[in-house]
């Protein structure tokens, strides 16, 4: 059977015809000549020719087999499984290797690597690093050696790749933004020629390609002879230590990449320039400390929250009073602009979950097994009656016994022991309801600008994880649902922008309304429910005539038994710090954050200060 190996020879874009992108090209060439460099990750926004450049590699390394790993790959095809044909014919179980064997000596290409099932990516990386694939499944065991390079491309806007997977890549490069006019025109011109007349473009770069093919061949031969001067090892380890790189993979990748770079430049010895270049290829994604990177971006990046308080005075929009006679004290009504967003810490970490809620398991957005349709990733031997039969695995399980069971009236004889059922995973949706305190106290010292900035950041976070978000604001005498839970984060954004501030603080009422919304039919019952309460906790509107904050606390106690996770973001600032939001969080059994702590950069910085004094 023909495999999916890319055979589009004529339509391959010529490698030298790719405009710019020198770093990406160098990275790919390193991987092409070195058998020790295995993982290359290329990141960049959509439409920046990531896949084009990867696929074009073949035009200068004609012997290279590139195999495209599709997103729909199933485990049995990837790692191998039982040889069904053999099983039916001879009644024997035999291992049939999968793609990981077929790609031996070639290059595996994973486009959109961040969208793959984590298990698949993990497996590929494990095998790539270990050089062997050990399989125990479907009653067969198999073991084979395999050696291949992996190139992954991804758009960070579509979601991140976890850092332990990231670390496994030797090289990680970002696509350059081509901003000057002439290069962009050249990109365009060549692309159009390529589409109309691929051979024409290949011919016009024929000499360059022929040269490169020779160069690469030569570099491959030279590489084993390249020497690394003794002092270089020390330089490398000092550099990685200084940059706070964890583990030794970075050091190894540095040395290997430097050697490949030297070989590409026809040198027999690694020099400092190689190290320098290698560092930019190998260490960017391993740095633990984002501060260094941010320093040079100037003050615009630092602490937007505090900056906004004294400065911005004229870019807020004043909302005309919406209805006469509505104002009931607590100062005037104002619509604040939205402060600068930031990267949010993982504020819904599994460790901060309440474990006693039973039904709500699994980390946020993790894949949980569920009854409703989702991606079928694997199968299992059913424990009870089979409802969701996995036909193919069932047939595979039955295959070896067909010779013994052969009956003239049936093509295949299945017995109950053969049945396998599907294990479906669907991304657990998360519904986040933002319950925002929009009372007058939040407007003090333009705190609302920062608060909106923080909510925007949380919205962005929700967007990347494709959560549903809703927005409810409480102020004056009631809580108002500004946006029912929706996947349209843009809509949430515009509601947030329009959200006015002013009036008193009916906290208890807000809590009760928000909880009843999350318990209503409007919210999918299978979703993880999270209520993010953004407030300073200074309640001053009681439910009846009692104490407003006491009411809120009673309400919180009551809500804590609901299958909802609570996150309280304390917007209070200044001294003495009022611990009301914290007490509220405790009563809810939720997680407590101060507004400033949500900022991942700042948090990193404050932890650093705490550690280093």
């Amino acid at each position: 059977m023909v495999t999916g190996t890319i055979q589009l020879l004529r339509s391959i874009y010529p490698f030298p015809a790719v405009v710019g992108q020198d770093r990406v090209k160098r990275a790919l060439l390193c991987a092409a000549i070195s058998d020790e460099l295995r993982g290359v990750l290329i990141t960049g926004p959509a439409g920046t020719a990531k896949s084009t450049v990867v696929r074009s590699l073949r035009s200068v390394v004609p012997s290279l087999r590139i195999k495209n790993l599709p997103l729909n790959v199933s485990e049995d095809r990837l790692i191998g499984g039982i040889d069904v044909d053999h099983a039916i014919k001879y009644g024997e179980k035999r291992f049939q290797p999968g793609i990981l064997k077929e790609i031996d000596g070639g290059l595996l290409y994973m486009d959109e690597i961040n969208l793959f099932d984590d298990r698949i990516t993990q497996r590929v990386l494990d095998v790539m690093e270990g050089g062997e694939n050990r399989v125990e499944r479907e009653g067969v065991s198999g073991l084979h050696a395999t050696s291949f390079a992996l190139v992954g491309t991804m758009d960070p806007a579509e979601g991140a790749i976890s850092s332990h997977l990231l670390d496994r890549f030797d090289i990680c490069v970002e696509m350059d933004h081509l901003l000057d006019r002439d290069s962009r025109m050249e990109v365009l011109r060549r692309r159009l020629i390529h589409e109309a007349d691929p051979q024409g473009l290949a011919l016009s770069h024929g000499n360059q390609m022929a040269e490169m093919i020779e160069d690469i061949k030569e570099a491959r031969e030279r590489l084993p002879l390249v020497l690394v001067p003794d002092g270089m090892y020390e330089t490398v380890s000092r550099l990685t230590m200084e940059l706070g790189v964890e583990g030794h993979r970075g050091d190894l990748a540095m040395i290997r990449t430097s050697k490949a770079l030297a070989a590409l430049d026809r040198r027999d010895q690694v020099c400092l320039d190689d190290l320098h270049e290698a560092a930019s290829l190998c260490l960017q994604h391993r740095r633990r400390d984002p501060d260094n990177e941010k320093e040079d971006t100037g003050p615009s990046d630092s602490s937007p929250n505090e900056r906004d308080i004294p400065e911005q005075t004229d870019d807020s929009e004043w909302e005309p009073p919406s209805a006469p006679g509505e104002d009931c004290g607590g100062g005037s009504e104002e619509v604040f602009s939205i402060g600068d967003p930031f990267v949010v810490i993982d504020y819904l970490k599994p460790s901060e979950r309440r474990m006693d809620l039973g039904k709500r398991r699994g980390k946020r957005g993790s894949t949980g097994e569920s009854a409703h349709p989702g991606r079928c990733t694997t199968f299992r031997i059913p424990s009870r009656e089979v409802t969701d039969i996995a036909l193919v695995p069932t047939l595979r399980a039955a295959a070896p016994y067909q010779i013994q069971r052969r009956r003239p009236d049936m093509a295949i004889v299945l017995e109950s022991s053969d049945f396998r059922e599907k294990v479906r995973v669907s991304k657990n949706g998360t519904t986040l309801l933002f319950l925002v305190d929009a009372s007058g106290s939040m407007g003090a010292r333009r705190r609302m600008v920062a608060v909106k900035g923080a909510i925007l950041s949380l919205l962005k976070d929700a967007y990347q994880k494709r959560d549903a978000v809703g927005l409810m604001a409480f102020r004056k005498d009631s809580a108002e649902l500004m946006l029912p839970p929706t996947k349209s984060v843009d809509l949430a954004y515009s509601r947030l922008r329009e959200m006015p501030t002013g009036g008193r603080t009916p906290l208890a009422m807000g809590l009760s309304k928000a909880a009843s919304l999350l318990s209503s039919d409007k919210v999918s019952k299978d979703d993880d429910l999270v209520m993010v309460i953004v407030s300073d906790g200074k309640a001053n509107v009681p439910l009846d005539d009692g104490d407003a904050f006491a009411d809120a606390m009673v309400m919180a106690e009551r809500l804590s038994s609901l299958p909802i996770r609570f996150v309280v973001v304390d917007t209070g600032s200044g001294y003495p710090r009022i611990d009301r939001a914290q007490r509220l969080s405790k009563a809810l059994g939720g997680t407590y954050f101060r507004l400033d702590d949500l900022n991942s950069e700042r948090l990193a910085r404050s932890i650093k200060m705490a550690v280093h004094g």
């Binding site: 059977m1 023909v2 999916g4 055979q7 589009l8 339509s11 926004p45 959509a46 439409g47 920046t48 020719a49 896949s51 495209n68 790993l69 599709p70 997103l71 729909n72 790959v73 199933s74 095809r77 990837l78 499984g81 069904v84 044909d85 793609i99 486009d111 959109e112 758009d155 806007a157 579509e158 933004h177 006019r181 962009r184 025109m185 990109v187 365009l188 011109r189 692309r191 159009l192 589409e195 349709p373 991606r375 079928c376 036909l391 193919v392 047939l395 595979r396 067909q402 093509a411 991304k427 925007l456 919205l459 962005k460 967007y463 929706t486 996947k487 349209s488 984060v489 843009d490 809509l491």
Partner: protein
């Protein structure tokens, strides 16, 4: 909306259309009507994947095997059509999977084509594309990226061409489209219900007319349909013969730079759409005006660089800027 759809017929590599608008604004009707105007195409005879007859670089596994065996692939001409991707489609139906009945009756593996196979060379129409499941979107992106669909599951390993014009509709109030999928749509058009009462009446009358006596209704438009088809064929011819000139390249790049659009897809779409637009209007050569004309279709959905930045395309501002930029 009609213009945008026609541009894609003139040059299918523009990359499809996203139609944004409320319910009941004849989105689906327009797309289905488009099928009538589509040209025929030459495919490999008997191939379930409709491999293009003259494109040996992109053949399905079967045709590749046949070629390798030294067989000659026959030609057949079939009409293009609109293939619909329903929202409830499962992964295996979209990408294709193992043919179970074949496996059971003969014990050998055979690939059963999915919707992507059907869509090859045709129009793939997704109503409410923003409600499509994430993992189905992933499949679409994967196929659209290469123009090929690779299947590696359940013991089958198969590839076939999946080159299609993607047409999607969405009601923006029901949720966003992922930026990557958004970027794959060449052009975008916002439709609104007809606001003019006279036209509204006309719309309703025609619809009722059509429903009560469809045959006669179609006959009424036979003439103009035919005329239209001829126009399109001519435009395609002009398009094929026209050369890319530096003027429009420069205009496209300048516009993208001015608006801060990331990636090269915007530039590429601008140029292709401008050329198609010129061809459609009987011009031999595209000019900067054509670029501006299509800018309002090719750019609105690419304006955003961040999910939350306001993504409004100010046509008047752009117009003025272009005037100043290119008149000097």
């Amino acid at each position: 909306m009609k213009d945008v759809l026609l541009l894609n017929v003139v040059n299918p590599s523009i990359g499809g259309v996203l139609i944004r608008g409320e319910k009941g604004t004849a989105k689906s009707t327009a797309v289905r009507a488009l099928a009538e105007l589509l040209p025929a195409r030459e495919v490999v005879k008997g191939c379930p994947f409709h491999c293009s007859w003259n494109d040996n670089d992109r053949l399905c596994s079967n045709c590749q095997d046949a070629l390798a065996d030294g067989q000659v692939l026959d030609k057949e001409t079939i009409p293009m059509r609109v293939v619909e991707l329903p929202l409830c489609a499962t992964e295996d139906r979209v990408a294709g999977t193992l043919d179970i009945s074949h496996a059971i009756s003969t014990g050998t593996k055979k690939f059963e084509p999915g919707i992507l196979a059907e869509a090859n060379g045709n129009i793939l129409y997704v109503d409410e594309v923003n409600l499509l499941d994430d993992h189905i979107v992933d499949l679409l992106l994967d196929a659209a990226a290469m123009g090929m669909n690779f299947v590696e599951r359940e013991g089958v390993s198969f590839s076939h061409p999946a080159n299609f014009i993607l047409i999607g509709t969405m009601n923006p109030e029901e949720g966003d489209l992922r930026p990557q999928l958004l970027d794959r749509f060449g052009l975008v058009v916002d439709v609104q219900g007809e606001r003019d009462p006279v036209n509204r009446v006309d719309v309703i009358k025609r619809r009722i007319d059509f429903e009560s006596r469809p045959d006669e209704f179609l006959k009424m438009y036979d003439e103009s349909q035919n005329q239209f088809r001829i126009t399109l064929v001519e435009a395609r011819g002009r398009m094929r013969n026209s050369e890319v000139n530096s003027d429009i390249l420069e205009a496209a790049v300048e516009i993208s730079l001015h608006l801060g659009v990331d990636g090269h897809r915007a530039d590429l779409t601008l140029v292709k759409a401008a050329m198609a637009w010129a061809a459609l209007n009987g011009k031999e050569k595209a000019s900067t005006e054509d670029v501006l004309k299509v800018a309002r279709m090719a750019l609105p959905h690419r304006m955003r660089r961040q999910p939350f930045e306001e993504s409004k395309l100010d046509i008047r501002e752009l117009d003025q800027w272009l005037q100043e930029r290119f008149s000097s």
